[in-house]
């Protein structure tokens, strides 16, 4: 039997469950231990420990009206709710609530694609629509529009955008929150609002113009707990005539400075239209004691030390990868201009990885190796046992510091994080700067999680040290696993936590009973707020 959330009596909890069942029907209320366990975070860094975040029950509505009914019951019974869209925000908490005892509101059944306009290049979707769902819809109906898919692609367009995820294609599409246009939200009071132009019921521009009239409130529904988003519009990318996937490689460690400066300039001018990835084939090489020593040096290894090592490896020090979209003649001119701008770096090499003309046949689409760059969802990122006899991976956390797009920063970050890993006896992972957003790089590290407390304790200590060490250097992260959201918010503590206090002031105003997404991004209702230092 499920345990009621703290502060809710067993009798009230049972009454609430009966009431929830009357809203959604018997099949869609989950209260047995076996069913509720399906909502565990499969990659939890607290797996099996007392602190692991677990739900008390789950309810799966199929309409806005049912959500409003659930919210009404929650307000009456003081029941904490945790809405999920597809529940695939793995590495950030998955389908498990940040506050144990919450009732998960599973929106996967609300998976309707409400509108796709090929003419306007927009769509309007419900929470349960995954990238795979939308891709199949566009392909089946021969609609010449692309989604910008997160990688892996099993997540929700809406859920990923609301957690501010990113993708790989053209400029204003790959920042997924930025690519949204208009929302419908059930507020914690049960009231239904539409944002932007959607507040005018006759407006034909809900998915075309973001702002409407008055303060633009959409931002408060991202990484937050201020409502249950039920519809969301997105801008889609018109399928280009062609694409050319390329690489640029440079031989020496310090070459990353002019490389990144030039790439940033080309991105700003839209000469390069896509996510641009700068990684080091040298630093990401196979485990080698000489490499580990350099990676662990904390910055004491000089450029000359690194370049001597690189000379033994017969690989470039840095490789940038990106893709052009558009008419072939335009792509050729953009690529030519890119090469001209980078020609001053001694030893620079240019490579063409793949070229495409669209539309692709099913066979051609299936054969694309790097699918997300063409808006094709994939699970190819998951390779849990990549060698014969290897122990499979069980899960991981994403550590994702953001840096300014400068080569010096990428080098400094690899030195700082390399030392953190070395001090904890772990081989430092690769470093890459990925320009999902136009003016920053995200430097993802995957920190493994396990199904045992001993290894997870080390993982948590490593993760926290990485977060703090990088924030100290001016590299806070952009998104964080539910178990670490209080730590994440601490890194944004200007003026003694004024931003966090503002979040909680808003919480009190829009959710007076404190029922929606309790604890998400460390936003707590009054009754659960811990004393501040």
């Amino acid at each position: 039997m499920p345990t009621p959330p703290a502060g809710v009596s067993e009798a009230d909890f049972q009454t609430a469950l009966r009431e929830l069942e009357s809203v959604v029907g018997r099949d869609w209320l989950f209260k047995s231990d076996e069913d509720v366990a399906l909502y565990k975070d499969s990659y939890s860094p607290l797996w099996g420990e007392a602190e692991e975040r677990v739900a008390s029950a789950a309810v799966a509505p199929n309409s806005v009206e049912q959500i409003q009914g659930i919210v009404k019951i929650a307000n009456q019974r003081g029941l904490p709710l945790y809405p999920i869209s597809t529940g695939r925000n793995l590495t950030y908490g998955g389908s498990a609530p940040p506050y144990s005892g919450s009732v998960v509101v599973d929106l996967k059944r609300m998976n309707r694609i409400l509108d796709v306009s090929e003419r306007d290049k927009t769509c309007l979707v419900e929470p349960g629509v995954s990238y795979f769902d939308m891709y199949r819809h566009l392909r089946t109906n021969k609609i010449r529009l692309w989604i910008d898919t997160a990688d892996p692609g099993w997540g929700s367009l809406m859920g990923n955008a609301l957690d501010r995820g990113g993708g790989y294609t053209g400029g204003d599409h790959r920042d997924h929150f930025d690519a949204h246009c208009g929302m419908e939200v059930v507020l914690p009071t049960g009231e239904l609002v539409r944002t932007g132009m959607g507040a005018n019921p006759k407006a034909k521009t809900w998915q075309l113009f973001k702002y409407g009239m008055g303060p633009w409130v959409d931002g408060i529904f991202s990484q937050s707990s201020f409502g249950i988003v039920t519809k969301m519009g997105f801008w889609l990318m018109e399928e280009p005539e062609a694409a050319l996937q390329v690489t640029v490689s440079v031989p020496k460690r310090r070459d990353v400075v002019p490389l990144v400066d030039t790439l940033h300039s080309l991105l700003s001018s839209h000469t390069i239209p896509s996510q641009t990835n700068v990684a080091s084939p040298i630093m990401n090489g196979a485990a080698d004691p000489n490499l580990v020593k350099l990676r662990s040096s904390g910055g004491t290894a000089s450029d000359a030390d690194w370049d001597r090592y690189a000379a033994t490896q017969n690989r470039p020090f840095w490789t940038a990868a990106f893709i052009y979209y558009g008419p072939p003649k335009v792509i050729a001119a953009q690529w030519e201009h890119t090469k001209d701008r980078l020609a001053g770096i001694a030893g620079v090499q240019f490579g063409e990885t793949a070229s495409y003309t669209f539309p692709l046949s099913d066979e051609q689409a299936d054969a694309v190796p790097d699918k997300p760059r063409l808006g094709i969802p994939s699970l190819n990122l998951f390779s849990s046992r990549d060698a014969p006899g290897a122990t499979p991976l069980e899960g991981h956390l994403d550590f994702s510091p953001m840096i300014a797009p400068r080569g010096e920063e990428l080098i400094a970050l690899s030195d700082v994080t390399g030392k953190v890993y070395a001090d904890m006896g772990v081989t430092p992972p690769f470093v890459a700067g990925q320009m999902f957003h136009p003016r920053t790089m995200i430097c993802f590290h995957a920190v493994p999680t396990f199904r045992n407390a001993t290894d997870n304790r080390r993982t948590r200590a490593l993760f926290e040290t990485l977060v703090r060490s990088c924030a100290d250097r001016g590299w806070p992260i952009y998104r964080i696993h539910a178990a670490f959201q209080p730590l994440g918010m601490q890194m944004f503590g200007f003026n003694n936590g004024a931003l966090h206090r503002l979040h909680e002031t808003l919480k009190d105003a829009v959710d007076p009973n404190g029922i929606v997404s309790v604890g998400r991004y460390d936003i707590w209702p009054k009754r659960l707020r811990r004393p501040r230092a």
Binding site: F30, D35, A37, L38, Y39, S42, A58, A60, G87, L90, G94, S95, K108, R109, G128, D133, Y135, R136, H137, R139, T140, G153, W154, N277, A279, N284, A287, T319, A321, D362, E363, D366, A367, P369, D370, L379, N380, L381, F382, S383, S384, R385, D386, A387, P388, G389, A390, T391, P392, L393, G395, G425, V426, T427, F430, A432, A446, P448, D455, T459
Partner: protein
């Protein structure tokens, strides 16, 4: 042992992210193995619960939920690659080619997950869909 285990995990995550990040050389397109997944994806987000005979329904559930990892085409199937590396030819790597699966085995892994494969909820794969896909994968 634990330290080595964590390093091992870290290296392999690094390798897979490096591949995703376009660092490693991209493998050339491999020969296609039928059936072809995208063609089989031709459904909207409407429920598949009421579709067709059990075998047809099981195939539809497999294509919708399993194929992106467990396709016969190893290029689109990290699950197939993982099972190839686990069994090294002792059993076929593609689930649809296995002759040794049982209904209980299929249901356990869908609801419990394994390694990087997460649990699948009943709002994703309903009990009826799970019956159908288990029947499909255990057909002889």
């Amino acid at each position: 042992m634990r330290r080595r285990s964590m390093n091992d995990q870290t290296r392999r995550i690094a390798a897979l992210l490096a591949l995703a990040a376009g660092v490693a050389p991209l493998t050339a397109a491999r020969a296609q193995d039928a059936p072809f997944p995208i063609a089989a994806w031709s459904r909207t987000t409407a429920s598949i619960e009421d579709r067709g005979q059990p075998a047809e329904r099981g195939a539809a559930v497999f294509n919708n939920w399993c194929n992106a990892c467990h396709s016969r085409n190893p290029m689109n199937a990290p699950g197939t690659t993982s099972l190839q590396n686990k069994y090294q030819g002792g059993v076929p790597a593609a689930l649809e080619d296995r002759k040794d699966l049982t209904i209980e085995f299929v249901k356990f892994y869908v609801r419990d997950g394994v390694a990087m494969m997460p649990r699948f909820r009943k709002t994703e794969v309903s009990d009826a869909d799970l019956d159908a896909v288990a029947a499909y994968l255990t057909r002889r």
